[in-house]
Symmetry: C2
Subunit: 141 residues, 2 copies
């Protein structure tokens, strides 16, 4: 538990209950899990924490600025968040079951860098989503 406190402090954020709780939720997520602010808010409610939705948004935004989490805009008008990991990765989103899988492909990144170079462009961030359908275990929607 001291772990997340470290992270928060390192990011220059005071260690408060809402921040710790939100961090824990994100930390507990499995690969491919992404939470919206609303999701996190509901989880906090369920576990009896008294945290306002506005605070969830504020905290997530702070975490993002601090580089602790990444924000994604999948389809559907709202943002989802996940803890930043060292290794950057891209996303495959099943439009049928909503499942998200992640992958990292060095060749892809290399090629992207080359393209940016050709265009006289310095990349600061990138975003690749592949949308489609799982061939097999695509459970009901």
């Amino acid at each position: 538990m001291a772990l997340e406190n470290q992270e928060l402090r390192k990011a220059g954020l005071k260690v408060t209950l809402p921040r710790v709780k939100i961090y824990q939720i994100l930390e507990r997520a499995g690969e491919g899990d992404h939470f919206s602010a609303e999701d996190i808010y509901k989880l906090l409610m369920e576990q009896g924490e008294d945290v306002g939705l506005a605070t969830v948004y504020r905290v997530l935004t702070q975490f993002e600025s601090a580089g602790l989490v990444s924000r994604h805009h999948f389809e559907g008008g709202h943002s989802v968040f996940e803890l930043s990991r060292d290794e950057q990765h891209d996303h495959v989103v099943c439009v049928k079951c909503g499942k998200v899988r992640e992958f990292h492909d060095p060749d892809l990144v290399k090629r992207q860098n080359a393209i940016a170079e050709e265009l006289g462009f310095t990349i600061t961030d990138r975003t690749l989503y592949l949308y489609g359908v799982c061939k097999d275990g695509c459970e009901k929607k």
Copy 2:
């Protein structure tokens, strides 16, 4: 001018003034130009057309369903639209000047397909945005 009427009819949409005007605006756009609903609404106002914002949204959504336009979610909480062209392409977005450039790289697509294949996934759509800074002609923000 019969041209856009053809397109609309082909899409099963009645040829009405708002649709034609909106189509023309999109048609007139240069490469890399992307308009939000608000942008289009303002342009229509400027040229004295009396079209409601709700209609702009409705028409753009219909155009999207008909495959006439593509919708993108760059950063910033709103959608932008561009006329669909035959050739699919990806986007480079300058976070400083807002300029958007487009590119198409067959190798990139091939690699993406291979990855999807490995993951047992059938791609229906894909989205790649490279964010960064133009090295040279990046005019004021």
